[in-house]
């Protein structure tokens, strides 16, 4: 693409004393992209977000917004807005005043800013709640107020710092759909920080997987899931069975470390004829019922433990129980080589 990226990070580094929280991050995010920064806590993703917002000054490196270097600019001089993890709603203001705050400090008159704020509240389906105080709202509603407050000032980039972390599962799934819809409607860049790999996979156009202060893999959700480039990504994004170079050599004459997703593994009764490239006998160690599927943990001959995911849609499904002898089968093409 020839157009200027919405955000360009160059050699971004942040140290807190002796600790390097973010180490040499280079990243381009395109305009209108739903971009996720995924990683465990302490991986530096939130620090990167805070440097984009302007709350932290990078130790070295630059932040560019649509081609303008904003590295030294104060947060109030940047065309980005943040949805905070704890929502950060002003407790002494009503919901409407909270949403109108950004317009108020820009000097917009009361009638106009009330109209705009009401519009933004309608977008998150909270128009009726304008007179309430934030404490009178539920977690999900507060979340939506925080979103309305950030989008009412029409930022070019919206930063979301684990915005759904405090919500329960059902609400989180509902909010994911709403976020995606709002992003599509507004057409602005969303940068979404999360430690929830499922959330990142569901929402994102592209994902940057963070570990130890740097990006370890960058790609679309599908790329990151189907072709993890390291043991860390294979384990962090979804679950994987990882074989070290020695294990793969011993078990199926592999040449390097590799991984396979549990859903690619098929279990057959002991002694059945091989339907896959690779068949290894083993014993069922544990079965975990997950609703739509069952996770079966199998101890392979030689001690390696793998986990398989079996769909529960088969009416005549073979129910495995602890201690059953089985054959673990999978194809070579399903194996992902790790570096």
């Amino acid at each position: 693409m020839s157009s200027t990226p919405a955000i360009r990070l160059t050699g971004l580094t942040k140290s807190f004393g002796a600790v390097t929280a973010v180490d040499q991050v280079n990243l381009d995010v395109a305009e209108g992209e739903f971009f996720s920064m995924l990683g465990p806590s302490g991986s530096g993703k939130t620090t990167v977000l805070r440097m984009i917002a302007g709350f932290e000054q990078p130790t070295s490196g630059t932040v560019e917004l649509f081609g303008n270097d904003v590295t030294a600019a104060a947060p109030f001089d940047r065309d980005v807005n943040t949805v905070f993890q704890d929502y950060a709603l002003f407790p002494h203001m009503t919901v409407l005043e909270n949403v109108a705050y950004g317009l108020r400090v820009r000097g917009m008159n009361k009638a106009d800013r009330t109209a705009r704020a009401t519009e933004a509240l309608e977008m998150v389906r909270l128009a009726k709640y304008g007179d309430r105080k934030p404490t009178q709202l539920s977690g999900g509603q507060r979340q939506r107020v925080a979103l309305a407050r950030a989008i009412v000032v029409q930022p070019k980039v919206l930063l979301l710092d684990e915005p759904l972390g405090a919500l329960d599962l059902k609400l989180r799934e509902q909010m994911q759909v709403e976020l995606k819809e709002i992003q599509r409607k507004l057409g602005i860049t969303f940068i979404f920080v999360t430690h929830d790999q499922e959330e990142a996979l569901t929402l994102s156009d592209r994902i940057a997987v963070f570990n130890d202060g740097g990006i370890v893999q960058l790609g679309t959700a599908e790329e990151v899931y189907r072709a993890p480039n390291s043991e860390f990504v294979a384990n962090f994004v979804g679950t994987s069975n990882v074989f070290s170079a020695e294990q793969s050599a011993a078990l199926f004459a592999g040449t390097s470390a590799c991984s396979i997703r549990p859903e690619k593994i098929v279990l057959a009764p002991a002694g059945s004829t091989a339907a896959h490239d690779i068949s290894i006998p083993g014993v069922v160690a544990e079965t975990i019922f997950l609703g739509a599927s069952t996770r079966v943990v199998v101890d392979l001959e030689g001690g390696k433990r793998v986990s398989a995911l079996e769909p529960n849609d088969d009416e005549a499904g073979i129910a495995h129980t602890r201690g059953d002898s089985v054959v673990v089968g999978f194809n070579r093409s399903s194996l992902v080589t790790l570096h």
Binding site: G54, P75, F76, N81, T82, F84, V105, A150
Partner: protein, 308 residues
């Protein structure tokens, strides 16, 4: 089916139930009888508040309604509003009341203005370590005797004293002993009582709110006006109640650094001592009490006491 939870665990002696004792039975009784529990909990403080605290105030009011035999100096128990009328209409008392009120307001304003940046630095800027040291620095003077601190200020304010020589290069001089000296000394004495509630209030303002405000386009000053100030108003009011009421009642500092300045406290002191007119002293003492009541009522209407 066996009832053992985990057969792989080795057999161990069962955990015996807690042993019976008098304390245990007492606890059980109190647990079941909430009203007895409440009674035991509240009787001592209620006794103190009711008998010692409120009764003393009522005694003061009653004393104000008595008179003193000007010849013998004995108290005559005879109801009259003469003392209260004297205090309300006498030019001296009106002047002293206004002066005391002025001093209380001045001390409060000075303390709040000085306390705000200190409290802000402590709560939002300083490292945890520096924060702890600052807190110690602010609390330590409270251990020093009030008298010592007042006399220290007497020496600071004296002619040729520290303040005098510090201001001399700029063509200034010490305000000396008088109203100004009293205000400066009292502002110093009550400063910790104003810093602490404001610091606590600021500490409770999450940093993310300040970040959110600046993220939404507010400059630092705007954030302070719209977010920080409204949120710490209860703390400022709590601090002002201390500095205001303590100044209204003070007489020791006035005696030490006030020179000839008369305040309500010194009037009470003079009437109890030299003039031997306890009823008039009681009547004068009712003035600061009334002012504080009015102040608290005004504060209550703003709703600031709800979050105290």
């Amino acid at each position: 089916m066996t009832t053992t939870i985990n057969p792989s665990l080795p057999d161990r002696a069962a955990v015996s139930p807690p042993r019976d004792s008098v304390a245990r039975r007492g606890s059980v009784f109190l647990y079941r009888h909430a009203k007895v529990r409440l009674g035991l909990l509240l009787s001592a403080p209620l006794f103190w508040l009711g008998l010692v605290y409120i009764a003393a105030l009522i005694a003061l009011l009653i004393t104000a309604l008595w008179t003193v035999d000007s010849f013998t100096g004995d108290i005559i128990i005879e109801w009259s509003f003469d003392n209260i009328m004297t205090v309300l209409t006498g030019a001296v008392y009106q002047a002293v009341t206004l002066r005391t009120l002025g001093a209380a307001l001045l001390v409060t304003v000075i303390d709040v203005v000085v306390a705000l940046p200190i409290a802000f630095f402590m709560a939002k800027v300083a490292s945890t370590r520096a924060q702890r040291w600052l807190l110690i620095a602010i609390l330590t003077p409270l251990w020093a005797s009030y008298l010592v601190k007042a006399y220290a200020w007497r020496s600071v304010l004296s002619e040729g004293g520290v303040l005098d020589s510090a201001l001399a290069p700029f063509g200034g001089s010490t305000p000396g002993y008088g109203f100004e000296g009293t205000v400066i000394t009292l502002a110093y004495l009550w400063l910790p009582f104003v810093i602490l509630p404001i610091y606590t209030a600021l500490d409770r303002v999450p940093n993310s709110l300040l970040e959110a405000s600046s993220d939404l386009g507010a400059t630092t000053g705007t954030t302070f006006r719209h977010i920080v100030f409204p949120m710490i108003t209860p703390g400022i009011i709590a601090g002002s109640i201390f500095s205001f009421s303590l100044t209204l009642g003070d007489y020791i500092s006035v005696k030490i650094v006030g020179g000839a300045t008369q305040m309500l406290g010194t009037l009470v002191y003079a009437n109890v001592g030299t003039a031997n007119n306890l009823p008039l002293a009681a009547a004068i003492a009712l003035i600061p009490i009334t002012i504080i009541f009015v102040y608290l009522a005004a504060v209550r209407r703003t709703g600031a006491l709800d979050n105290l």
